[in-house]
Symmetry: C2
Subunit: 149 residues, 2 copies
């Protein structure tokens, strides 16, 4: 049998996938607004209603951003992550946690430093829903959270 060599990154992704129920998908096409590697899987799309699984590698998080026109719901399904609104303490997220992100609130979300993290985002087509992407979460801001755990 021919052996296929896996990189460390592939091995880690494979290990996470074997424990995570929902499909991880492909590298996130919106990766330019993320620090580190993330993945995206459209689980299902039914007319205007869909559900997307977003997976973050350890240390990966999205940039500060603001939703306009429509809240965003996060259904945490695997691993361990962070959610932080500007000016507030970060919340540690685990499977089963549900976050309702209000409109017009600057925030970010992502994995913890040592864990992968996946959340499902149910979504509905809504032309009034837009996002303003802001600056990255600095290593200093991010590392501080881990120190405070």
């Amino acid at each position: 049998m021919e052996e296929t060599e896996m990189t460390n990154e592939e091995k880690m992704k494979s290990a996470f996938k074997s424990g995570a129920a929902f499909e991880v998908g492909e590298p996130n096409p919106y990766g330019e607004y993320f620090t580190g590697q993330s993945y995206l899987k459209m689980l299902e799309k039914d007319k205007d209603l869909g559900a997307i699984n977003v997976t973050f590698e350890p240390g990966c998080r999205n940039f500060w951003h603001i939703h306009h026109g429509r809240n965003q719901i996060l259904l945490c399904v695997a691993g361990e992550g962070w959610y932080q609104e500007e000016g507030k303490p970060a919340q540690l997220l685990k499977p089963g946690d549900v976050v309702n992100i209000p409109t017009e609130v600057k925030h970010w979300h992502g994995a913890t430093k040592n864990s992968w993290f996946s959340h499902i985002v149910p979504g509905v087509d809504d032309p009034s829903a837009t996002v303003t992407w802001c600056e990255p979460v600095t290593d200093e801001e991010y590392d501080k959270l881990e120190d405070q755990r």
Copy 2:
């Protein structure tokens, strides 16, 4: 310390909840269309978009029914269940499985005989979405599935 006596049913619900990530909620207000005990938890509602967790005790399933106007998406999050469309073999469901139930197709879903089962249903307010409830899934139909596993 005062001891509180739990019924067997409460003990089983408690055991399942300790392993299931998402909240199980309260007895299902639509229970009249279900065989056995089910639970319902509105996880979040954001304007017209919501996500509901439905949990079935072992052996519990809903009646045959038909969705009109809008498909229904099931995101399986805990335990083991069945989904069956009329005239087709039933599908065994596990966490991570996603089902897109077409409109106008008679079907049912529920737990397997020996496992609890939870699925999340992302939903959007849609006045055109209605349900026709039909007859219960008979014990004969249900037990046959288990025999064929």
